[in-house]
Symmetry: D2
Subunit: 477 residues, 4 copies
């Protein structure tokens, strides 16, 4: 029988009638069953969070201790947690292990940042007529954070929401992706072991259309943090009153291979970064803009590097590319490829699908209005687009509705910083692909790619309010 999991509400493991079935994404067998949150459970979770926040504030050092302990527990349970990710997400084991290491960093950093929250002096005495004032700001938590997380990093993208939320003194209601809820529940177990007081973390499992919708409409939630599609992000913006938002949405990440690039290095790097977790990463390379002078050399080296990737069973520690999250998603991506093909695109590598497993696929001869180029494909599919003039290339790639991260490979300093100044993204990588991320850095997009930044230090800024305190002082003492 499949493993059974309960909800985590107000410090209690809570069962419910209905269940969410979680599949082994490689075999498509049932892997586990999880209690499904109904209206009552969601309400209890929000109530618990609000009560915890209002009645039991945690001092910063205690938050530090709990989060630091969770970061240690992640390492102590690394193998088990990684295997669970591979099961419920279909993520190749070695990438799952990396995810645990990164989540460890996310918790460690959040713990440390809990001790560094502070305001700043405001020189009101420099305004005419305010010579006798003194002012500074303090940072206060927003209250209840509603977190909605995606399937692709079932631990680390949950970590990026709840660790900074706890670090800044908030209480959390978390709805993990219904495809991959178990990682979040296991994380709740670690929090319990680490001594988190009840109510500060509540995990409710269910679909966006029920649980998500209810959370969206409950005004006790003060801030929503969401990673997922631009469509859902927009809905959140429209339906959450005047509450605060952090949105990490899509991208169709561009990477430029300039004529002065180290082409071999660029080819190896981008081959790795285009297909990790079957391209289901927000900053996975999707659009490769290659200068005509080096296109042939690059294309050859790129294909060779792809051929060295191991495709198949994610449980195999050598696998680089495994299945997509579902057969439906793989079919969708296949359709986009075929649509492009009909309009003249050529598949120069891959293109075949077997169930949820789509081969690493490389297209050429694409045009800029094809979905494989202008939409987020979120699949192991990359298009090579030639260019001859860098400025024109950048103008074109900026036409995207998205702007999360991008990359450029070039040895030339002027070229590199022209790109830095002009590519409209939240992060531009020089001599690296768009897919570079370390957890301490500010991460977040512009345009349709979102609002606010992740990275514990930055998220904490968004999850606290800065209150100005001005003293009108009498010097006659």
């Amino acid at each position: 029988m499949a493993d059974q999991y309960k909800l985590f509400i107000n410090g209690e493991w809570t069962d419910s009638e209905e269940k969410v079935e979680v599949l082994n994404k490689y075999t498509q067998d049932t892997y586990a069953e999880v209690a499904k949150a109904g209206e009552k459970e969601v309400d209890q979770a929000i109530e618990a969070a609000q009560t915890a926040f209002k009645t039991n504030p945690m001092p910063p050092y205690k938050r530090y201790q709990i989060l630091k302990r969770v970061s240690e527990l992640l390492q102590e349970n690394k193998e088990e947690l990684a295997k669970n990710i591979t099961m419920e997400a279909g993520k190749p084991l070695k990438q799952a292990r990396t995810e645990i290491d990164r989540a460890t960093q996310t918790f460690e950093l959040s713990a440390e940042e809990a001790k560094r929250i502070h305001g700043e002096g405001v020189p009101v005495e420099a305004a005419p007529g305010s010579e006798n004032r003194m002012a500074f700001t303090i940072k206060v938590p927003v209250g209840v954070v509603g977190a909605i997380s995606p399937f692709n990093f079932p631990i680390n993208l949950v970590a990026h929401k709840i660790a900074p939320a706890i670090a800044s003194g908030n209480a959390v209601v978390l709805k993990p992706a219904s495809a991959t809820p178990i990682s979040a529940l296991k994380l709740a177990e670690l929090f319990e072991e680490a001594g988190l007081p009840k109510g500060f973390l509540n995990v409710v499992v269910g679909s966006g259309s029920t649980v998500g919708k209810q959370m969206m409409e409950d005004s006790r939630i003060n801030l929503y943090t969401f990673t997922g599609s631009a469509n859902v992000g927009l809905k959140l913006k429209q339906n959450t009153g005047l509450n605060k938002l952090i949105l990490e949405l899509g991208n169709n990440s561009p990477v430029i291979i300039d004529k002065e690039a180290d082409v071999q290095m660029a080819a190896k790097n981008t081959a790795q970064k285009s297909f990790a977790f079957a391209g289901q990463v927000c900053i996975s390379v999707q659009r490769l803009y290659v200068h005509e002078e080096v296109r042939e050399e690059f294309q050859q080296a790129f294909i060779e590097a792809i051929q060295e990737l191991n495709v198949g069973d994610p449980n195999d520690a050598e696998t680089d590319v495994g299945p997509m999250i579902s057969e439906e998603e793989a079919e969708r991506a296949e359709t986009w490829i075929k649509d492009a093909e009909k309009e003249g695109a050529k598949i120069i590598h891959g293109g075949k699908r077997n169930g949820a497993l789509l081969e690493p696929t490389v297209l050429t001869n694409v045009t800029k209005n094809q979905k494989v180029v202008c939409e987020e494909i979120f699949a192991p599919v990359v298009s090579i687009i030639p260019f001859s003039n860098l400025k024109d290339c950048i103008d074109e790639l900026n036409e995207s509705q998205y702007g999360l991260q991008g990359g450029i490979f070039t040895q030339n300093i002027d070229t590199a910083f022209y790109a830095a100044k002009n590519v409209q993204v939240g992060g531009l990588m020089i001599n690296d692909s768009s897919q570079y991320r370390v957890d301490l850095m500010p991460y977040g997009g512009v345009k349709g790619s979102g609002w606010g930044k992740e990275g514990p230090k930055y998220t904490i800024e968004d999850m606290t309010e800065e209150r100005l305190v001005v003293m009108n002082l009498n010097q006659d003492v």
Copy 2:
């Protein structure tokens, strides 16, 4: 004949068929006629802004020079600008003069901040595996700013939008309040004189339901900055896609008079700050929470101080309280007062209305669900609410949907900082009323009072995007 004004689009003064009539708010005569923007003009304005932004970026020092020049021109034209405010807004002349002085500060500060926009280093080399990286952020302008400004500070709340927008390198489309559009047009003249290149500032006059709506739906606008009601703020959030927002909305500002307050000082201060510009200030004192031990003394001193206020013709340089923006608005406020009276509230001062002129009004015996208490009254009306326990008092006043600014009068340091930590507002004034503002400070609310902060330094942060640049460096040189 009334003065005639045109729109300012792409550096040209542009007429149109339809006109907006602007009244002298004290006499209710026609004061001026202004060209009304139709669909075409709004489109041209947005187009002009986008083109200016894309094709003619201004270096920081040039932005500084233009904004500094405007700040000087404000002083050179102070008397004329102040008189115009008095005419179109009904604001007492001395308060109008103060507004010009403050706008001078807003431009001066924005000019200076234009030279101080910078990113910061990001220690990516401290992440495991990233030892060879170096990273920093740069700040880039968002693009086209759509600004929608209110009637109550026709110069300075326009200044807080367009000066930081220009300072950070953006182009602006401004829709001023249709009741008071002339100040904005006069400001555009000063910009023209100061040498602003065409297209960077465009002023379109018209109603929210036409011009405002069109702006809201035009995706070429990258960021909206709005001051006004929570209702309209919410609409903007819901109808502007994933674009960025700065919202400065309402408040029903609370001020606490503690038992250890300097009661006489508190009474004089709050009497001034409850009725300035007929209470039509976002942070005007509305709820006076007075400790029972000092209530009698306070109430008497407060009424005495009100009696010293000059009420009447705003053109008189001695006037403290003039008309409200319209008779309709005065009637609305009167209705709220009467509703409260029916439920037992007592008017202990004022309460009478003559056209748009409502007397400074003080209520007691109110209850917390009456509109005069729980909604933003935006009129010269204040309620005295007694309390005996500070913590309970703060819990109660925090029930408001708003949280812009508040104040506390107390000599006790523990009491003062208990309030600072616990009153849920964007700014808490110690020994001053909620209505303290200098233009350099961060200004903005929590909860239903808005998003983002004004104050040039802070607005610039919101009007720029922080882009991360990471270099993957090879040390084998």
Copy 3:
């Protein structure tokens, strides 16, 4: 036979001919013998540090790991380390335990700050003519840090020097106080266990006149960090060429008891903070300025609180006040007391000496030029000085050559912040004594009390150099 200790040079435990004898400060018996560094050993230590720094740079995360591990080892070895402090310093055991807890914090914070060292953007493009530039700063370690530490916190004041030094990537040569060298050597053992590469920490034991002098004259040391007397601090400034300095020197800490103070609380607090470790703390209360209106009440409560202190054997876990560091030092303090007495001072508590043990002593009727007032007494001796006018009181206490920390007890916010603005110290405590310190805060004096700040974040700023990098960029790419 007494325990034997060796020097720690280039990762090796190194013996030498001559020995330093370390006494049990309570019994004055020999407690241990430590190898004494000669000219050769000091030279080797500096050489080792320079070589480690130049040839084996540690990336930030590795520094983090080592320092975090040391902080854990401090807790694992807490009891042993505390007992050693009691032995070699005569510090009461409970204060020694507190010191280990604080050192744990110092290492933990330093570890974390190692991951947060970063520069900032510099807006050179805002200078006329520099529109095409981009600039930022990076922080680089200074190189070899020469640390000279005092006897009074044999672990934590060593920690405040070497933990930030290692955190910022420097190598260290440490000369601990010759009265208390064993704590430093034990700390070196913990570093060794934590995996510090050889050469990054070197401990050389000996007197200031030999080892200290040699360090001072060796130009391979790039920065000196010293805690001790103003005299020695001045010598360091004069004899270290143009090298950098951090100096934490003396103080005769003033605390004000205002007429609006919570007198009972103030009396208890200051009684504790005047005599901890026999007053041998840089920020020990020495001058108590008490308002005449509350003087009698304060004095009585103060004496009562002192009578509750346990005086005697530092090994006893209940002891509050133990011996001074040496009989000579106790005699010196006794002389100062007697000198004051001759000039009219009255001893209202204590005053007797038994070997190195001097009773908690309270003086009244002192004058401002007596050594007990104007010099740093560094003994369990405090003077009560009455005042009637706060401003005059502050003017008088500011006459001190020192300015490390001070305190004021008052409930009045105006009084509190008048003191904050006007008392010339590095840190002013409101409703606490001068002796408040947590390890994360900036700590350091003005005037003759020193240069630079301690607190890991702040020390790291002083132990790194900020290098500006400006790129002259060509936009024709």
Copy 4:
């Protein structure tokens, strides 16, 4: 008869018996006579500064207004001030004009920074046991600043000292270089016109051995700021007790021409920046490290660019290179050149001297221990040093006792940032020479090049003390 100038003490123009004769540096005729400060005048100046500081503090906005007005007056008097610099310093007129423009910036920036001085919050509540605390820092002026300025920028290096000093609320005693005192006195006139209260700026003229020495020994001066030789800097460090210091000392600036440089651009740039004001600039190019692959091309282009420089009468607006400050100095430089020649160096351009006028001189075949290489030559003399391996080149140039600024010309991003990380200087310019400076940037050296940074924002940090204020708050209110 020569113009007569008086001292500026306590707001009065004060004459004295003795005079300092100021020469026209081109003709060596007497240009002016200036009152020479004796012991009495220096004492009065310091007394006046201390009294002004203690009794008449200026609020920030007033400091802003005065400094801003001085910046305007500099432009209004630009031509006169520039001509005076040319006279007393022998600086070519166009460079003198540039200096006035830069000083305008220095004052403008200082004025603006006066309004931006603020502390920051300190999260003491994150320390175990301090949960009830709240803390922040405030910045207070140091008091009396003693400024000693050099001859080479008689206006702008005075500006970098006194403008930030006034901006931060200090009072100043200035001793300008005795060769060029008139610029400083004219600046004092502008301050007077701008309304500076008496005592905040005092100018005393005289030699270092009398006036400088007296200032050094007067303990009423709280901070010394000095630009000049390393020798005098060291003396200041040794003889000013524990007072604070800002030292801007010498350099023998290195610039690297890499094999991937834009050689033509590099040659033109460095030719300009090696000989401006006859090389008497702290960051004048002195050591040109040229990669062997491009050496020939560079050398030819460099000599050609030098030949286009106009050498001669500094009063001529076309002149690029004029006389040195004195014949003695020109003779000293000539001797260094000849010494190098004797040891095998070759003069490939210039080398001849006519009075104080030394031709732009280029040496090759130098060795690293010759004075022309390892000492600061402060003359129009540059050495070309070939290299073949970049890392070795950087190791070698780092052997210098100095480290102010350096430059590298290269198009390769890895090379550029290898240099940025490894060249031991305060500022490294990529694709520009060492001589790049704008007044807003942090400017200052490492090693023997000094302590502290100039640039108004940075100097203000050094000229204020950061005081921590901690509140111990009782939540039972």
